[in-house]
């Protein structure tokens, strides 16, 4: 049924669609210069980019491998600090002096990649002992890891309080290297988009291969998986590391959009949108085991956050409603409870949105033919 040719056709359709969208975006980006665009839309785009990568990468572990990790932000923190420090180093070493030069963008890309790699290396160190444990134990260990990472970073002279958080390095973060202002964010918006696409493509290639089947089998039944010849611990650690790599990249993007870094941003829970539990919320809402679901829910949760932050305040609603929304995490907690109790599979479950199937579906509708519904499995 599904042979190589139909799959290749699918890749082609997706690539063309993405290329068209990207071109359209670039044209828009060059000509569209309202304040809303550069002050609201573009920064949101950056935020959504790393949220999507975060949610999708956690989904590899949570939805496909079936292990609850509560320390995903720890890897993000590693990526963020590594990227920031490296780009700072590049700038101080005089590798780039001008933010328009191509060498600047190359050094930014190198910094992001380095952040991902270091996160992956830490992922190996954490994953090997941690993944011997299951379920609740793994959750607690990863949570502890997330905290220890922040603890360690805080105690590093060049990264913690005297470094990127509040010290001398932080001040220059904005002027140099990472920490894009709105102009740079607009200029380099394509970087965020392309990186997001590449990361997601790499995750899709992973799950739609023998590796993806192997980890899904571990999720469904570990004992049966090993009785089918799957090296369970190897695949577990491998997936954990792969996921950590992308969290590191997302951390680098995060560092790109912020003028300074503080480990408080990467805590287990905190008042802001970004923390390890929030990523879990995104994955659950989108559907554990659906990368497109994670993308969708990252966008939705971002919008929800945006509405809570900006619209409710300005809406002139009764004070007590406004007060309720002053603490967005309360809203997310309620969203999470409702989803898990009434729709535990999330929006998409384990299905993936597929452009080809959707086109087929629409064609079928138009041609009044009965074609099976979209979503390839």
């Amino acid at each position: 049924m599904m042979n190589k040719n139909t799959k290749l056709k699918g890749y082609l359709v997706n690539t063309v669609a993405l290329a068209v969208l990207l071109m359209a975006f670039l044209i828009l980006n060059a000509n569209f210069k309202t304040p809303f665009y550069s002050v609201v839309f573009i920064p949101s785009l950056w935020q959504i980019s790393y949220l999507i990568i975060l949610a999708a990468s956690l989904n590899l572990v949570l939805g496909f491998l079936g292990q609850l990790s509560l320390g995903h932000c720890g890897f993000m923190a590693i990526g963020a600090y590594t990227a920031a420090l490296l780009s700072l180093y590049f700038e101080r070493a005089g590798i780039f002096t001008d933010k328009k030069a191509p060498v600047f963008i190359v050094s930014i890309l190198v910094s992001l990649l380095a952040g991902g790699l270091l996160a992956a290396i830490v992922g190996i160190i954490v994953g090997i002992p941690a993944l011997r444990l299951k379920g609740d134990y793994l959750a607690i260990i990863t949570l502890g890891f997330g905290m220890i990472i922040c603890n360690v970073i805080n105690n590093l002279p060049f990264a913690g309080m005297e470094g990127l958080s509040k010290g001398s390095a932080a001040a220059s973060l904005y002027k140099t290297g990472l920490g894009f202002g709105n102009t740079l964010k607009t200029k380099y918006a394509w970087v965020a988009i392309v990186i997001t696409i590449l990361c997601l493509a790499a995750m899709f290639m992973f799950i739609r291969s023998r590796f993806g089947r192997a980890i899904e089998s571990i999720r469904d039944d570990e004992i049966a998986a090993s009785a089918s010849g799957i090296n369970v611990s190897l695949y577990k650690v491998g997936t954990f590391v792969y996921s950590a790599f992308f969290a590191g990249i997302a951390g680098g993007l995060f560092a790109c959009c912020n003028s300074s870094l503080s480990t408080a941003s990467f805590a287990f829970t905190n008042g802001s949108i970004l923390n390890s539990t929030f990523i879990v919320v995104m994955v659950v809402v989108g559907g554990m085991g659906s990368l497109t679901g994670s993308m969708l829910s990252a966008v939705l949760m971002f919008l929800l956050n945006y509405v809570i932050k900006n619209v409710i305040k300005a809406s002139g609603m009764p004070l007590f409603v406004q007060n309720l929304f002053k603490y967005p995490m309360l809203v997310y907690a309620i969203v999470l409870i409702i989803v898990i109790m009434f729709k535990p599979k999330g929006i998409l479950g384990t299905r993936e949105f597929s452009l080809v199937n959707t086109i087929e579906y629409i064609k079928g509708k138009l041609g009044k033919k009965a074609v099976k519904e979209g979503g390839s499995k």
């Binding site: 992973f206 899904e216 089998s217 089918s228 384990t350």
Partner: protein
């Protein structure tokens, strides 16, 4: 000339806490043989399978596959060497499709590197295509090929059992351990199962060790039978010998004076 048995155990045993679930288990199975392992509930049959597949580590004894010692190997290593099994309580990959269930077990046979999948190299496509073909072939033995895209947990019970056997076959084993494959099946399904076992033996020529409570099935298909009770072997021999063995009858029916 001596033939090496496909599977040989020497005084294999395991103790859980104080309970000696299996002790002094000795068996030799040769290529192409179908041997039955029977015994009352809780006798230790499934535990033997768990020992042979590295799920439990034996506390005593050794076991060999084609002369090679298997003690201390992890489950996936034992499987790679050639011992495949099914489970008493069906353990399918419930959220995956029927086809994917089989493909998982073919994972190490059609190997390609991570980068091949990342860049979708020709090797990736070739391997995936071969893999797809073999998986469908295996399904067709069990008449499951037209259900390839069903979610495994949506299959009727009898077909789930068959799918589990198909998955075990996909690992490319020398010996297949079947744990009560006919449990919960109706007579037609059991008859179909017998047919499948026959086809498997013809096509793959492998050895099979079968746990089964259905006596008529065991007596029909097995060439030799080994009986255990409270972890100890109480009899072994040809089916008609077992059927008339006093100790076996007592084990199943209870002693008369009790």
């Amino acid at each position: 000339m001596e033939r090496t048995p496909v599977l040989k155990t020497v005084n294999l045993g395991i103790t859980f806490g104080g309970l000696r679930a299996v002790e002094d288990f000795n068996i030799e199975i040769y290529e192409g043989e179908l041997v039955g392992l029977i015994g009352p509930n809780g006798a230790g049959k499934t535990t033997v399978f768990n020992l042979l597949t590295g799920v439990y580590t034996p506390t005593e004894g050794k076991f060999y596959l084609s002369g090679k010692n298997m003690n201390g190997k992890k489950t996936h290593q034992v499987v790679a060497e050639g011992i495949a099994r099914t489970f008493q309580n069906i353990r399918l990959f419930k959220q995956m499709t029927v086809l994917e269930n089989v493909k998982v077990a073919l994972n190490s046979k059609y190997e390609y590197k991570f980068f091949a999948s990342l860049f979708r190299t020709p090797k990736f496509w070739r391997k995936e295509e071969e893999l797809d073909k073999e998986a469908r072939d295996l399904l067709s033995i069990f008449n499951l090929e037209n259900k390839a895209n069903y979610i495994a947990s949506n299959l009727p019970y009898g077909q789930q059992r068959k799918l589990e056997i198909a998955r075990a076959l996909a690992t490319g084993m020398k010996i297949l351990l079947l744990d009560e494959p006919a449990a919960g099946m109706n007579p037609t399904e059991t008859a179909e199962l017998l047919e499948c076992i026959k086809i498997i033996r013809e096509r793959f020529g492998i050895a099979i060790l079968l746990i089964e409570h259905d006596m008529s099935l065991v007596m029909n298909v097995c060439e030799r039978i080994q009986v255990i009770n409270f972890g100890k072997t109480i009899a072994f021999g040809l089916p008609h010998e077992i059927a008339n063995n006093q100790e076996v009858i007592e084990a199943y029916l209870g002693k008369n004076e009790d």
